[in-house]
């Protein structure tokens, strides 16, 4: 069962409409992005060919020969749909809402990319300068950015909380030593490190996460150190110690739950900064390698093709919307966890 305090906080959070709805929308978007293949994909959802049904979405590549086409590479389902329609032999194809994936170049011979938004070609936000669908790039880019931010969050918080708690709990020389170490560590300019790494190897998702965790974990330590110091001085910690609880139990079971509000209030802002840093790195060309769908890459394309306003327009709107929602959530959480709401002196 949830403890009453948590329920109170959740109710309080829910009552802050802006934050709550932001949370709902963002969660829905995140959920949708996890199954984006069902909505935004060049592969058909269902192909009915000669009475047999095929579900290509999560399967391997189905070569064109399977459907009586004359090539052995992956079927072009959009063309297939048209062909079935023209032939009218009872075969049919059900395509996703946006029938493009994030990588394919939908290039036409009569015009040069980027193509403007069009209902007819089903590029609802147009294409980028190599003819890739912007909705698809945004959707898959969102999934990667959020995934990146979450993984980054978990890893750097784990390290930060661990070290921070230890510093606050033991204090003394240990604390002093780590404080100095962290101060020194913080002076290493992390952006330069990323640039150097990116120039020597092609950065992958995990190298980027690793580098950013290595330089980002320190932020959390100061807050955790302070809260642990505060909690450690309380009677319940002494009581637990007196009952014979070990250090790890005291920290893990007693102190940590009481500092949770500090951690939780920071989470949304860390996510926002995770998304923003990945976007910034991609924008500068030090992020994930091409052709990974990425907002930063789209943004840099957009700024280079200002004439094609739909590129920069879509991506800026998307970034603003997501960061705004995350900020609203953060604000609501901070309100919800504000201890002043629950004091007896009200």
């Amino acid at each position: 069962m949830l403890d009453p305090q948590t329920i109170k906080q959740w109710k309080r959070f829910k009552s802050i409409k802006r934050g709550y709805w932001s949370f709902v929308i963002l969660m829905v978007l995140l959920g949708l992005s996890l199954v984006a293949e069902l909505f935004v994909n060049s592969r058909a959802l269902i192909v009915s060919f000669e009475g047999k049904w095929h579900f290509p979405t999560y399967a391997g590549v189905i070569p064109g020969e399977t459907f009586g086409l004359d090539y052995d590479y992956e079927t072009n389902y959009r063309e297939l749909k048209q062909q079935f329609k023209d032939a009218n032999e009872g075969n049919w194809v059900l395509m996703p809402l946006v029938p493009y994936n994030a990588f394919e170049n939908d290039l036409r011979t009569d015009r040069f990319p980027p193509y403007p938004p069009s209902l007819e070609t089903q590029h609802y936000l147009g294409t980028d300068s190599t003819g890739r669908d912007i909705v698809a790039r945004l959707m898959y880019g969102f999934r990667i950015a959020m995934g990146f931010a979450l993984v980054l969050l978990v890893c750097s918080y784990a390290a930060g909380i661990l070290v921070g708690c230890a510093m606050g709990y033991w204090g003394g020389a240990f604390d002093l030593l780590f404080q100095r170490l962290i101060e020194i560590w913080n002076t290493i300019p992390f952006l330069y490190v990323i640039m150097i790494v990116a120039s020597v190897v092609v950065p992958s998702f995990w190298t980027l996460v690793t580098v950013m965790v290595i330089f980002g974990w320190t932020a959390m330590t100061w807050n955790m150190r302070t809260s642990t110091y505060k909690e450690k001085a309380r009677e319940y910690v002494d009581a637990a110690r007196a009952l014979g609880a070990g250090h790890s139990r005291v920290i893990g079971v007693h102190i940590l739950p009481n500092t949770i509000s500090v951690i939780v209030t920071f989470i949304p802002f860390s996510i926002a900064s995770g998304v923003a840093s990945l976007t910034a790195l991609d924008f500068l060309g030090f992020g994930l390698p091409p052709p990974t769908p990425s907002w930063g890459e789209l943004l840099s394309q957009g700024t280079n093709n200002l004439e094609s306003g739909w590129i920069v327009g879509s991506v800026v709107l998307a970034i603003v919307a997501v960061l705004l929602m995350v900020t609203y959530i953060g604000e609501a959480i901070r309100e919800a966890f504000d201890p002043k709401k629950f004091t007896y002196y009200e």
Partner: protein, 662 residues
């Protein structure tokens, strides 16, 4: 974010400087030095800083030693009596007599030069090319006929050994400070470029290994001896070294620092005038220039001043151009020609667009397959890859149909070109045949071909493509998607330009997407394909191609002084390169495109066969003397600016000239 950008700009600057250093080989020669010289420059600079500190303020000037000649080398002590002195005053003039002298031509550069020296550390930036173009050699080449034309020398003669050449200087020739140019300046050039004081190992090596002797016979007559015999037509290019002002340089261990901001006097039309460090450099026309009335020089180099402004970003340079603060802008890139140049200054006819086909050595752009890779050592796989790469689709879409498919590895050297070779085209059927022959006969569930090895394991047909230019990513993603159809996976491996080049020189790549700049009179094969350069690091043989039969032909090609034989050898060599399928030639850009405010005027014939750019303010480009043909019409400038103020449109001007299209 701001910090991000600021740091990014710094890095960009470094990269750009790096690229520029990589692009312009000194005196138009050999790419090979590029990789090495950057590195050398760094260490040299360190050494130099060291000596600065030790220096107690007293500079000790030294005399350079006389030119050392090896055994077996050396020019005769007396001028050979039977020399046949040649000259060329018959070729057509190519400048317009309508040209108007005067005015300021305004252009831009990305960064301020790090030094104004022409040799030594940091001297290989983009701006150095501008200054070098104003340092004439004894002879240049006619931009239409390709024949040698007199410049500092009036006559030349070839020695009997096939590797010596003698020049008779024009007694009128002067440095821009008024001092006459004499044979001493040529002797000094070799002493100077061989000296340690210039801290230029590339020059030291080149002027020791390639140039074997220089002798003065008279104030105005001297001879040069090179390492190998060369065809007479090409001898000036290889051994026609330029002079250095002997009266100007005082050599000391401190030379590099002392001459950092002391520009050499020039023999060409312009010399460095006003400078504001970090902001601009003015090139001023030399008063009463000695060559003003020479047959091939008159009516050229018309602007009185050329201002190179520092604009650190291409986009903002474009804005300056649209405002009319810069006179011309390069429109070669399709986005510029087709999209950005639809701006109203073009539509209203204030700025003209010029598309001019030329005939110059084309860059050897392509995908280079590293045969040291176990899969790529299989010729079937290489052939399969060549048929899986859809350059035509890139050209038709991303490049707007402007660029063309490059047919052979090296092209644009006139008779040396092997025109019988057709490039391999995107052809899934052929690709499939070759891949199947190599054992890649099934596809995995991602659609990529696999081969089942003897031990039962599976190998996927997947390769890394290493490249260093983010501008090429759009082209590569199209190629990547198309290659999937053939069951070939390409992983894009983008690094910064210096690192990617280093990886290639260290042969750590599988497939290298890159291009070699080409220049000169004949293609080069030794550095790219000889087995001496295969499987060792820091050489230009990035395919690790090794073939004894080809080695033999390459050595014959290098040693031959008979042009006809060299041409036939080049054709055979190019055929072997094609058959080996180690290079997939990419695209060529056989033209120059520029936008120019309409007050800049050109001759009726716009440019020459060998024009690198129509609005080229510099005397020579590559090895041809064809620049400086345009002029500024001040009256028209007033008119156009007036029209612009009143928003009155004029006739739109788009010129496409295909006279020299192949």
């Amino acid at each position: 974010m701001e910090i991000f950008l600021r740091r990014f700009r710094l890095l960009l600057f470094l990269v750009v400087v790096g690229i520029m250093a990589g692009c312009s080989g000194p005196d138009g020669s050999i790419d090979q030095n590029d990789g090495g010289s950057t590195e050398n420059n760094v260490s040299d600079q360190d050494q130099n800083e060291g000596t600065d500190e030790d220096d107690s303020g007293e500079t000790v000037y030294v005399e350079l030693p006389p030119i050392a000649v090896r055994e077996g080398d050396g020019l005769p002590f007396e001028l050979p009596p039977n020399l046949v002195w040649l000259t060329n005053n018959e070729d057509p003039e190519f400048a317009s007599p309508d040209a108007i002298r005067g005015g300021m031509y305004r252009t831009w550069m990305l960064s301020f030069p790090l030094t104004l020296r022409l040799v030594g550390p940091d001297s290989n930036g983009a701006f150095a090319g501008v200054v070098r173009a104003n340092q004439f050699g004894p002879v240049s080449y006619h931009p239409q006929t390709g024949n040698p034309i007199p410049v500092l020398a009036t006559h030349w003669a070839f020695g009997e050994d096939g590797r010596s050449i003698f020049y008779r200087l024009n007694p009128e020739a002067r440095w821009s400070d008024g001092v006459p140019v004499t044979a001493d300046d040529f002797v000094f050039a070799v002493q100077f470029l061989r000296s340690e004081q210039i801290v230029g190992p590339w020059y030291n090596n080149y002027y020791t290994e390639r140039i074997r002797d220089v002798k003065k016979y008279d104030t105005h007559i001297y001879g040069v001896q090179g390492a190998d015999a060369k065809p007479q037509e090409e001898m000036h290019y290889y051994y026609g070294i330029g002079p250095r002002p002997k009266h100007f340089h005082r050599m000391s261990d401190n030379w590099v620092t002392e001459y950092n901001w002391k520009p050499d006097p020039t023999t060409g039309p312009y010399h460095i005038g006003k400078i504001e460090k970090g902001k601009y450099v003015d090139l001023e026309r030399t008063k009463d220039w000695w060559a003003d009335d020479l047959r091939y020089m008159r009516n050229r180099f018309n602007p009185e001043t050329i201002r190179y402004r520092v604009i650190r970003d291409e986009n903002s340079a474009w804005q300056h151009f649209l405002k009319g603060e810069i006179d011309t802008f390069d429109l070669t890139i399709p986005e510029y020609w087709h999209d950005k140049a639809q701006h109203e200054v073009f539509e209203k006819g204030y700025v003209g667009k010029y598309w001019f086909y030329n005939q110059l050595p084309l860059g050897s752009t392509g995908i280079y397959l590293n045969t040291a890779d176990p899969l790529l050592s299989d010729k079937n796989i290489r052939l399969g890859i060549a048929h899986s790469i859809n350059f035509q689709r890139v050209i038709d879409t991303i490049l707007r149909g402007d660029y063309e498919r490059l047919e052979t590895f090296q092209l644009g050297f006139g008779p040396y070109d092997n025109k019988s070779i057709q490039p391999r085209k995107f052809d899934l059927k052929k690709a499939s045949e070759y891949f199947e022959a190599a054992g890649f006969d099934s596809r995995d569930n991602t659609g990529i071909r696999t081969r089942t090895n003897d031990n039962g394991s599976k190998t996927r047909l997947s390769f890394r493509v290493t490249y260093g230019n983010p501008l090429h990513t759009p082209r590569l993603v199209v190629i990547q998607e198309e290659a999937k159809k053939a069951g070939l996976e390409l992983q894009l491996h983008m690094l910064d330009s210096a690192t990617s080049f280093k990886q290639m020189l260290e042969k750590k790549h599988q497939m290298a997407w890159m291009g070699w700049a080409s220049s000169g009179v004949a293609p080069r094969y030794w550095e790219h394909f000889h087995s001496d350069n295969a499987n060792v690091t820091q050489t230009n043989n990035i395919t690790n191609h090794a073939n004894p039969a080809m080695d033999e032909l390459i050595m014959q090609f290098r040693a031959s002084a008979d042009r006809g034989e060299r041409i036939s050898l080049a054709h055979q060599l190019e055929q072997i390169v094609h058959e080996s399928a180690v290079v997939i030639p990419r695209t060529k850009v056989p033209f120059t495109r520029q936008g120019a405010w309409r007050w800049l005027e050109l001759p009726e014939w716009l440019g020459t066969r060998h024009s690198t750019a129509l609005f080229n303010s510099q005397p020579s480009s590559q090895m041809y003397s064809g620049g400086g043909l345009f002029w500024i019409n001040e009256e028209k400038k007033r008119e156009i600016l007036q029209a612009k103020r009143e928003d009155r449109p004029m006739a739109k001007l788009v010129v496409v000239d295909e006279t020299y299209r192949n």
